[in-house]
Amino acid sequence: MKARAMRPKRRRLALLAAALALLGGAAALALTALDDTMRFFHSPSEIAAGAVAAGREFRLGGLVEEGSLKRSGTSISFRVVDGAHGVTVHYTGLLPDLFREGQGIVAMGALDGGRAFRATQILAKHDENYMPPEAAEALRRAGKADGS
């Protein structure tokens, strides 16, 4: 009688243990994945200061410098500036519809050996007056560096 009364309880404990194992596994999986895939944001000034290693993927934000856009076939290059420093960006492919000189953009990619940025993806916000937070942040950081 007693053994039978125990059984549902033990079963529930087993279920709980299975659920915890699943959650634990998922947490481990998620945290390692987060560590491996998370991308940091850097501004042109930080790159100029040598804070970013070549070959590591990150997000770059800032303004596209006026008059810096060059095309040859599908390859594009332009400079991204934050008011204090700039970095040359190379990209192959279609630019977003709202890409324009003087506009804020965010680019994903890595620095090559020559300290130029090889972009794999370029984002520009689909709104005339909008500044991507990363681009605004780059300007803010550069402004701070000047003031101090």
Binding site: R7, A26, D36, F40, T74, L94, L98
Partner: protein
Amino acid sequence: MTAELGNFALALALGLALLQAVLPLYGAARGRPALMELARHTALGQFLLAAIAFGALTRAYVYSDFSVSAVAQNSHSLKPLLYRLTGVWGNHEGSLLLWILILTLFGAMVAVFGSGLRKTLQARVLAVQAMIGSGFLAFTLLTSNPFARVWPPPLDGAGLNPLLQDPGLAFHPPLLYFGYVGLSVAFSFAVAALLEGRVDRAWARWVRPWTLAAWAGLTAGIALGSWWAYYELGWGGFWFWDPVENASFMPWLAATALLHSAIAAERRQALRSWTVLLAIVAFSLSLLGTFLVRSGVLTSVHAFATDPERGVFILLLLGIATGGALALYAWRAPALGTGVPFRPVSREGALLLNNLVLVTACATVLLGTLYPLFLDAFDAGKVSVGPPYFTATFVPLIAPALVAMAIGPMLAWKRGDLAGALGRLWLAALGAALAAGATLAYGETLAALGLGAAAWIGLGALVEWSERLRLGRAPAGEAWRRARSMPRAAWGGGLAHLGVAIVVAGITASQCFQSELILAMKPGDRAQIAGYAIRFDGVSEVQGPNYRAERAMLSVLRDGAPAAVLTPERRFYPVERQHTTEAAIRTTLFADLYAVIGEEDAQAGRTVRLYHNPLVPWIWIGAIVMAFGALISLSDRRLRLAAPARRRRQPAAA
């Protein structure tokens, strides 16, 4: 005048909502039928007033009344009528009003169809629903009034973001909101049950149809949104794990779990308090999504105008609703009693596994979505978490659920026979092995696993039907008779699983076998992609109703002769001063040929991007099948909203 009328209607609706949030609760506690009855009338009144307000705003858009600030900022007299209409909800203020309209519609539906409910339960459900309504009405009136006037009125409006001037996106928000807001009913039922201290079979039977309806809306809304992203953004992809996409995906995952746990709660009285918790979580995730989209904390194509005040208000709403409901749950859930025991290998066990996997997957999506926001909030650096994280966590987590998905429906309640179920699924196993083997010939292990899983789930659903009908084991007449008497829920559930199989096949094939080509082309140039030869025939200027376009002609050649023409466009909208990209897509239903054009370079020519996307249409076909399955389940006699009344009438008729 109409704007003031709309404003007045909204204010009145807030008054009614506040009454409805308090008096019926008091009535239910003290046993005053009149006060409980009041909720039904105020719920109908709220809906009527919200409809008047919505109508007033729509009128302002249709007649381009630019003295209304929201119209001036988001519309233009040259815009086609369809987009003047859909522009009503194409912005923050108007979409909130749509949200309120749907919220009050659901409240009115509970009032009308819920006459078979226990009086106290109905009164409490409506009161909780009114609390949510008051929150959103106050939010609208205080921070985002769609009827605010502007003086002097501008001569013309600022126009609507051209990306939103699209039929696919026009109906994406209403469907999505139907889903988000539908979950509020499940939430209200959960909180009302906690107040009552009772979760019985009738309760679960009432929760399921609302969740089904909300889930169907969410599924269709998300699918429509991803379809729009696919053809309008011109990136060749359909899902980017963008935080705003995740904001709609998380409630979907929770609603899917809720849908399944409610079956166990209704049929077996199992997982009851878990179901209550899920209902709270699912709607909380809807609110979280609202916060993410409307507070301006995200960088996304979808994000609305930034306004910190609004963000704080929604965060407050989220905190009160979720915090309050969870506190109530912690306090009252023990009173709901423990469930009926079952073995791990049983239908209940399978449903529990489904829930565990979905909730865990949902948690990892939540982590990936919120982590960058947390780091930023504590000034610990700006990071981004992108698709690599989500594929690395979501895919392995959901994989076991895909395997179990075919087995679960074959198990008996309470005590299942795993070996027997697997034995009856031999046909599905064979099909999965064949599909996987055939795919392996192309050297893609991941694709083989995905397509194998799709065959397993799809055939599993068919096997489950044929088992129920005793196809091949009983005479055809018997099978026909069984088919006619098979509950709609069984048809619907199988169909939804079949839809998942189709979606899985579409995602797998399009991810693993996509071909992409970027090149600069001059008239007469040719390109080869996935066995197609494509010739660039040049670009012409085209004038649209409110845009100018450069339209390229790309001939798809078969044996040297043109078999089809692709005409991708780059449009310029002068009012909004924006460019958009219109992809040209030629589909065979088994694969899409997809072309986009960029800018012209004097020497190299026009930038052209070509994709070949195998099975991509299956993603949306599968989603439609899933939503359709939910609607069929919804029409099940057992779940029909007026079922109790009907059953009472039946004996008299017989």
